[in-house]
């Protein structure tokens, strides 16, 4: 490591103002800060809000993403081997097959996103920062394994450009860039990211009779009036425990609960992920789903009758609330604000899921919508504090005057 540092510093003068490679300073800076603790101190958002170095925060998120990523790789391979009826498939072949499916998606996301990020850093003369490492991994994990690679490239490009750089780069973005990228693909190329056919890679020459890869959400939404959603789910092979375990088709990292809980535990233990947002989301979901249960079953779709603990393990709710909603830049920053923000995400996610027939999954839209609302929530929370303080001071002055 010493050797590396020496080499780096030897060339530093080239990149400093006046040096030959001045324009490429962000590249130098990136090498230095990714590998070592940087010599300078943080000045702007989101450091101020977080009170800790951005680099450490983002690297913790990356670590927290490892369990769901590994699960995603394993599961993609598992689903492939099951659906294509590969004989003698072992755990090892699941891993290898999964890596062949998932790694290209992650790599494309990093390479294309990285090029755009670095290009903007050079033009705008700001530093490459670790936030990109998180975005570049989060985004592919929310995609179906069958996603065409060019769409990954277009999506991450859109997310970085429109979701982040257009506002001025990390710290200024209103929306979570990874979710912006996913929302873009969702609306731009709906056929490749929704429906029944996209969740498991099927060999081109292998037409399987009767295979439909409907996700639990699609099954639930399609349950005919009068039937029970739980029965329909069980019939389709989605018992509660199966969905908890997550060995089913779906977006790469969303299916299993356990790895996401591991990641959440790490984020909370390190003080990186806001536990208030996560808890708020769970509470909001529970309230909304339980209220829906009270609706008369005869007049509304059977989906309204599904208990909250089913909603909790279905679709991308947990992944979204743990990794996406807690993004420090786009989330609410005040403690009260975090509760409100989290609860509303949970509530909205259920409303969109159950109420809107066009969008089987509401979590993405709920988080993006609340991203937009977060500054307003913070504003009113802060205003509330200001008013309270003022009232306190006034009361104290009055009591002095009397005394």
């Amino acid at each position: 490591m010493k050797f590396l540092l020496k080499r780096l510093h030897k060339n530093r003068h080239l990149y400093e103002p006046g040096g030959k490679l001045e324009a490429l300073f962000p590249l130098y800076e990136a090498q230095e800060t990714f590998l070592f603790t940087p010599p300078h101190q943080a000045k702007g958002a989101p450091h101020v809000r977080d009170g800790l170095d951005l680099k450490r925060a983002m690297m913790t998120v990356i670590f927290a993403l490892i369990p769901p990523t590994l699960w995603g790789i394993y599961n993609a391979g598992l689903q492939y081997n099951v659906v294509n009826q590969i004989e003698n498939a072992s755990t090892m072949t699941h891993w290898i097959q999964g890596a062949m499916i998932v790694m290209p998606i992650i790599l494309v996301s990093y390479i294309v996103g990285g090029i755009i990020e670095v290009a903007f850093c050079i033009i705008r003369k700001h530093e490459v920062n670790e936030g990109f490492l998180v975005t570049g991994l989060l985004f592919p994990l929310t995609l179906p394994p069958t996603i065409p690679l060019w769409q990954v490239a277009v999506g991450i490009a859109f997310g970085i450009l429109i979701g982040k750089e257009i506002f001025g780069g990390t710290g200024f973005n209103v929306l979570n860039p990874a979710l912006t990228a996913r929302a873009f693909l969702f609306f731009a190329y709906p056929a490749q990211i929704s429906g029944d056919a996209v969740w498991t890679v099927v060999k081109a020459d292998n037409v399987i009779d009767g295979f439909t890869g409907a996700t639990p959400l699609a099954v639930a939404a399609a349950t005919p009036a009068g039937a029970s959603v739980i029965d329909a789910l069980n019939e389709a092979g989605f018992s509660w425990s199966t969905m908890f375990g997550g060995a089913i088709g779906g977006s790469i990292a969303e299916t299993s609960v356990i790895p996401i809980l591991l990641g959440a535990a790490l984020l909370i233990a390190m003080g990186i992920g806001a536990w208030r947002i996560m808890a708020g989301g769970v509470i909001g979901l529970t309230i909304a789903a339980s209220l829906m249960n009270l609706l008369p079953a005869d007049n509304f779709s059977p989906f309204t009758q599904l208990p909250f603990y089913y909603h909790m393990v279905m679709g991308s709710f947990l992944f979204g609330i743990v990794y996406m909603a807690t993004d420090p830049v786009s989330a609410a920053a005040t403690n009260t604000g975090k509760w409100i923000y989290g609860i509303l995400i949970g509530v909205l996610a259920i409303i969109i899921r159950v109420g809107n027939p066009a969008f089987p999954e509401g979590v993405m839209l709920a988080i993006l919508f609340m991203n937009v609302m977060a500054p307003m929530i913070d504003h009113y929370v802060v205003q509330g504090h200001v008013r309270k303080r003022r009232a306190d001071i006034e009361a104290r002055r009055l009591s002095y005057a009397k005394g």
Binding site: I162, I166, F187, A188, P190
Partner: protein, 200 residues
Amino acid sequence: MATAKKIISDPLSDNNPITIQVLGICSALAVTVQMETAFVMACALTAVLTSSNVIISLLRNHIPSRIRMIVEVSVIASLVVIVDQVLRAYLFELSRQLSIFVGLIITNCIVMGRAEAFAIQNPPGKSFMDGLGNSLGYSVILLLVASGREILGSGTWYGLNVLPQNYLGNGLAVLAPGAFLILGVIIWVQRTVTNNFKDD
């Protein structure tokens, strides 16, 4: 004293009704899925705006100031209805695609805005030029947005295939938010190039 050239060129970029004054956004979103509808809409607005400017400028010394706005609206509304009726009779297919948006030119702030800001106090010649300039400013942006949306959304431009046959249309470009995004990017590029509105 603004010269004739400046009256026409100013609204094209530095004082563009859409990207700088942010007027007429509604129609810029609604009719820009294809070049064809955008082009007809641009023509319709040009016809209404230039003639309303000229008519109001001709009447400017006779209009009693107390009913000035009402007279302006009557003139604009009549012109819009005429354009709408003509489109319905001669370009039926397009007028159905444009649906209510031709009629909504009445409420397009650009028309009323130019009448109030320019035509009411300038001679007909100049008012004509001002109307033409603003129409062009509007049309240029409309056509740019429509080009972006039609090429990205369907792989065609004015109905002609410009991208390979197997190009997969971008659904977002076809939806109204796509117009917002493209308009936003146009504004971004314009402000970066002209360096106006630079804040530190």
